[in-house]
Symmetry: C2
Subunit: 471 residues, 2 copies
Amino acid sequence: MLDSEVRQSLLQWLGQERFRDDQETLVTHSYDATPMLQSLPDAVVYPETTAEVQSILRLANEHRIPIVPRGAASNLCGGTVPVQGGIVVAMSRMNKLLELDTVNLTATVQPGLNTKKFHQEVERRGLFYPPDPSSMVISTLGGNIMEGAGGLRGLKYGTTKDYVIGLEAVLPSGEMIRTGGKLYKDVAGYDLTKLLVGSEGTLALITEATLKLLPAPGVRQTMLVAFADIYGAARSVSRIVGARIIPATLEIMDQATIRVVEDYNHIGLPTDVQAILLIEQDGQELEHVKKDMNDIKNICAAEGATDIRMAQDEVEAEQLMMARRSALSTLARISPTTILEDATVPRSAIADMILAINRIAEKYRVNICTFGHAGDGNLHPTCTTDARNEEEIHRVEEAFAEIFEEAISLGGTITGEHGVGTVKAPYLEWKVGNAGIDVMKGIKQVFDPAGIMNPGKIFAKSSRKRLVISK
Amino acid sequence: MLDSEVRQSLLQWLGQERFRDDQETLVTHSYDATPMLQSLPDAVVYPETTAEVQSILRLANEHRIPIVPRGAASNLCGGTVPVQGGIVVAMSRMNKLLELDTVNLTATVQPGLNTKKFHQEVERRGLFYPPDPSSMVISTLGGNIMEGAGGLRGLKYGTTKDYVIGLEAVLPSGEMIRTGGKLYKDVAGYDLTKLLVGSEGTLALITEATLKLLPAPGVRQTMLVAFADIYGAARSVSRIVGARIIPATLEIMDQATIRVVEDYNHIGLPTDVQAILLIEQDGQELEHVKKDMNDIKNICAAEGATDIRMAQDEVEAEQLMMARRSALSTLARISPTTILEDATVPRSAIADMILAINRIAEKYRVNICTFGHAGDGNLHPTCTTDARNEEEIHRVEEAFAEIFEEAISLGGTITGEHGVGTVKAPYLEWKVGNAGIDVMKGIKQVFDPAGIMNPGKIFAKSSRKRLVISK
């Protein structure tokens, strides 16, 4: 519970509508999209200006009260769960598109702006903001920035990090800093912009962002390719890129995923194949996109594709992509608990990684479907389970630990686009080492000496011991 | 002078060939490409392995001896001048291309590898490493990474920062950290990779880097356009990008630059115009590149271009680009001292910035030619002067201070691609503010508590007071 003096100050600044500590508000802000994680905050505030954010943080810092910045809470790493209570700062009222600058090709936004809505505004001007996390219909740009969100277009266009070129951020002390600007080149000191992207609300609270835009590609084509052999799919991915073609989207679904998606959606996916690739190419010229798609078709055919279906129009393209985009929501329907992970490996290792996931799932007798962004090696092994079955959940945890270890041993990482949060904190040391953790903790200390910013995230109380993998 | 015990240890580890403290070696490592800056180191060492770098840094850290990492020393901010003496760590022997991975489209390199040589190796495989700092014939990749080097292709392809996806770095303690990897997506903790890029040797010493590559564009076309009115040139730049065309290169030269370049090189540049644009477009398809160039031509014509010359072949294209690439070396020939700066503004502000530079040059009675990367707003006001004329140099410094202030007031920055070093340290606060400096100093302290890494760079003893601009 908040100190009554603190509560009174917040109430006075923000009014009853924008300071809440009724039970319903606390409960609805006690969880995010991450399964099996819940913790009540002491209050929820809804600032409307940077100055209000500054006052809130200054007060919280003086009283050592945890601050949990919150966008749409669609993250999957426990990033917005107030695990140590405190004040949830909901950014929903700072949701304006402040400027669309068509000369400098930049947008300036408030953090609470919805990602999809922003896409639409940008596309209306013939421009393009590539980062497209699967949660974009509900997610906010501030949330995307804090988690370093990726999406389906990572291979060709990069992720959120590549498009953030300026920030306004409030430090826990209440001081405001501005980094970068409408600048494609800026090397004035350390790159605080990129440091804040993906910092998961543990360093500062973002109040404004300047984003880089691209001209919209005029043409897009979509294709679905089925493979009896998963290595054929993986080899196709490598050969497509090896042929110097970078598709806008290059997604994979394994057999377990295909079967569930088809069972529930009846879109005519072949359920007897080991893998499906979903491929999109975009560009300015139809001829060039067509040529790429044709080259990709030939590569897939040579690698033993059993079925190649080219979308004939936008509607069919949308339907094919739906198969992939609906994977998580479909999987979520077949069991009480769905745990989606994002182990990531170099592109050349995706077949090995998928097979390792299957082997590990069998070893621990858990059900794991795998789909994800084959083009950039970012896989989403997804476990359908039941949180009420403690014994099974324990096996699920063991399986994921082994999956993370396998990803790292293949040159990969424990999280490609979801963030560390609380969920992967125990594994961070496996990726960045002891010295890496120490440096990161030092940086945290610089920004947030009192440790009020989203405490309990990124850094675990203790690192998990490595498993001995029996191969 | 080094403590005799330290000297003995280094000599024993490295041998006489790789530990030098003779006068000639000290003198040749006392300066870099920055004018009017020289300071002798106490020794120069040439490590060949990461382990040797670790030993050197550990020893230096124990004895509080400054470490100055050095590539080709082609930087323009005093970045490799040992202003506090100490040990210059010359990376020239760690210059291998360790791996070119054509499946993952990555290269793994040692820091001493020459940038141009790397370009050639990459291009031989049909791949492309876009960052092309003007110094690339002599610069090293390690130097590019430490300074966050840009180049002519920044607008379309970004800078060095956008291509570094993994690093091996030695901390002053001697500990080694590894960041990132062959991964297009990695959000495991704070982004130490991007933090180290552009850190100017003040945090850690890079011993290996993993770089992202692209498929090579198959086609390239080049065009030179002259404008009687500089605003016509600037409006063309804005309108080209506004028309959703992103050229590979979009360079500008003002009249002062054109005249000097033409006087010395006789390439037939029109010397009576206010500005020249040099434009290149590349791509996979000739038709598409042609269409872009044609659209660009029409825009320039509509904005009053007086002369539009399309290169008919590679040789002519090379000759046109030479006019721009030779700008600095030509300017360097006309006076004893050439000071090249890199004030950077949003693209929409380049005409205002160029005119402000001219106004300021007149006010302080100094000769400033301006050229640079119009597409990304990165200008290079270049002063031809004489270091022996103290009174004039004082006026030059005042003029540049006012130029930096003007850049910032236009939403720009004090350095787009050269780095802060010693030269711009007094101005850093103008861009990042007091709180920004404090955070950066804190980060420096985390990596380098003893302050041995390239001391005297980025952070000034005292910030320069702002001028009062009389407009």
